[in-house]
Amino acid sequence: MRPHVKLAALALAAFLAAVAAQAATAAECETDRTIDIAEMGWPSAAALARVHAVILAKGYGCRVALVPGDTVPTLAAMVAKGEPALAPELWPNASKEAWEKGLAAGKVVDLGPAIAEGLVQGWYIPTYVAEANPGLRSVEDLPRYWQLFKDPDDPGKGRFVSCPPGWACEIMDANFFKAYGLGDTFNLFSPGSAGALDATIAQAFLRREPIVFYYWGPTAMMGRFPMTRLEMAPFDEAKFACIGDAACANPEKTDFVVPDAVKAAASWLPQEAPTVVEYLRKASLTNAEIGRILAWGEENKADAEAVAENFLRTEEAIWTGWVPAEIAAAVTAGLD
């Protein structure tokens, strides 16, 4: 063979091999629609969104798109339009009414827990404050300790750092605030955004200053800064229902509900792509696993995409259990 013919044959062979490899790795997706995945602003949800995106694209051969999301607007859009198709970590309690309506109307489906156990939310103080003030153990004790948490904008009262506007906990905090009669000694302060909330907490911890704030876990913040939960009155479902309602006329003392975080999908997804949904139902992490994943991201200054890639590369024991062996192989092949 003359050299250039040889070269052409070689190129053709390489091309065919590539096509064959393509066929072997990517399965045919069950749906033609693009599966748009809501990537929420907080790290665990963002990482989960990226993990699902890779597995659906490389393993199941689906067209996926990541769209930025947040609890309330994402759920509203999913109920109204079926888009985004998937929210990998949705806190239904944060938008309870919309969630239940959507479920009842068959617009969204619950694909089971995203994080299996160990979810917490509540009012927290730094552990060094709890140790220095043994008398401050519950929300009921706060009025006696308001001077610890002086509000620089209004030094005659303490400052309680609540949630950014639009979060369900913003309403709950306001109602708990009333229920526990904190209005005389504290101001309810909204940090305005998730970034500002974290920055506020980080500032207090770095300077070892007192702060009382709402937080939830598992989160990187909770792993980084040791915090102690303030006790509340025993949980009561009826009272808590009122706490979650912006129009609650007479909030009463109770505790936060133990939160759950689910995978929510638009109802067309299980209809059109049952095997994909079968995978999604299985994909669930524990608190410890999420904590490990987020700690790696924090340590390596990695973004959600890199965190997801690292998870897929290093934690095969976890995720290969969610998918059939050939899909797992395709995902692993697709990573390189």
Binding site: A76, P152, P165, S193, A196, A199, R207
Partner: protein, 290 residues
């Protein structure tokens, strides 16, 4: 893809750790340095909130009347303020106004002297111009969140961020206004034996006042446009209502608060512009349009 020349993670970690160290060691110092701002803000806000609503409307309408001596603007101002009151945005509007006034005051205190210095030194101008470009183009969230970590959440970092955003046009216009003063007039001053300071205060500044006033007007408007962003770090006021509207999908709340910001903008823009024009007429200087 651009080849990865080195791993940026250690660099980023160094920056983050550096900031953490700064906050842990110098945090109190920063907070003390910002206390005049906090004090000014608290005073202005408490003062405005202590005024009965009709008194505030009367003062602003009076200012508008003083500036134009015609009924049109005072009527617009009164209508805009009544609009805020009727829609239940009064308190939020006052908070926003206090924030904006403090930021504008702070901007004037910092930017005009720097602008004067820039007009006098070509070197300083060459150094500061790129800094001003950076201040105007850097996305504000980049420095908002570190500002929260340094100064604590709330209105102080909001005022500082607003000042960073609003100062460049005032500095540029002050510098420009002073340099545009006719050299012949300056030479006349020189020949009469005026000192440098006399020439600045008695010739340059008065003649540049309309331009400087245009800068103040710009700074006021830019402060107002930072209102929504500033409320993302806990500044409260009308911007917070907008954020709540977005977060809870209450379009109405966001819309009304947005219109409230527009109403405030109209009041302050028109009143400062009218004062600027009045100043020009009094001084008999030609109109300058930046």
């Amino acid at each position: 893809m651009f080849p990865e020349l080195f791993d940026t993670a250690p660099l980023r970690r160094a920056i983050d750790d550096g900031l953490d160290w700064l906050i842990a060691t110098w945090g109190e110092g920063f907070e003390a340095a910002a206390s005049p701002l906090q004090w000014t803000l608290n005073t202005i806000e408490q003062g405005l909130l202590a005024l009965p609503w009709w008194a505030l409307i009367a003062i602003l309408t009076g200012l508008a009347l003083l500036a134009t001596r015609k009924p049109a603007l005072p009527l617009v101002v009164a209508a805009a303020m009544l609009f805020l009151g009727v829609l239940g945005l009064w308190e939020d509007a006052i908070k926003t106004m206090a924030l904006m006034l403090t930021a504008t005051l702070g901007t004037i205190v910092v930017a005009i002297p720097l602008g004067v210095a820039m007009s006098g030194s070509a070197l300083l101008r060459r150094v500061l111009t790129p800094v001003l470009d950076l201040m105007q183009t850097m996305p504000s969230f980049v420095y908002l969140i570190p500002a929260v970590m340094v100064f604590g959440p709330g209105r102080v970092p909001a005022v500082l961020a607003t000042m960073i955003y609003a100062a460049p046009p005032l500095m540029r216009l002050t510098d420009l206004g002073l340099r545009l003063v006719d050299p012949d007039v300056l030479e006349a001053g020189w020949s009469f034996g005026m000192t440098r300071g006399q020439r600045l205060l008695k010739i340059q500044v008065p003649l540049a006042l309309p331009t400087i006033f245009a800068g103040i007007n710009q700074a006021t408007m830019m402060s107002l446009s930072m209102v929504v962003i500033a409320s993302m770090i806990g500044a409260g006021g009308l911007g917070y209502q907008v954020l709540q509207g977005i977060g809870r999908l209450e379009v109405s709340r966001g819309l009304l608060a947005g219109l409230g910001i527009v109403a405030l903008a109209i009041v302050f823009d028109r009143v400062t512009q009218a004062f600027g024009r009045r100043l020009q007429q009094r001084l008999g200087v030609t109109d300058f349009k930046p």
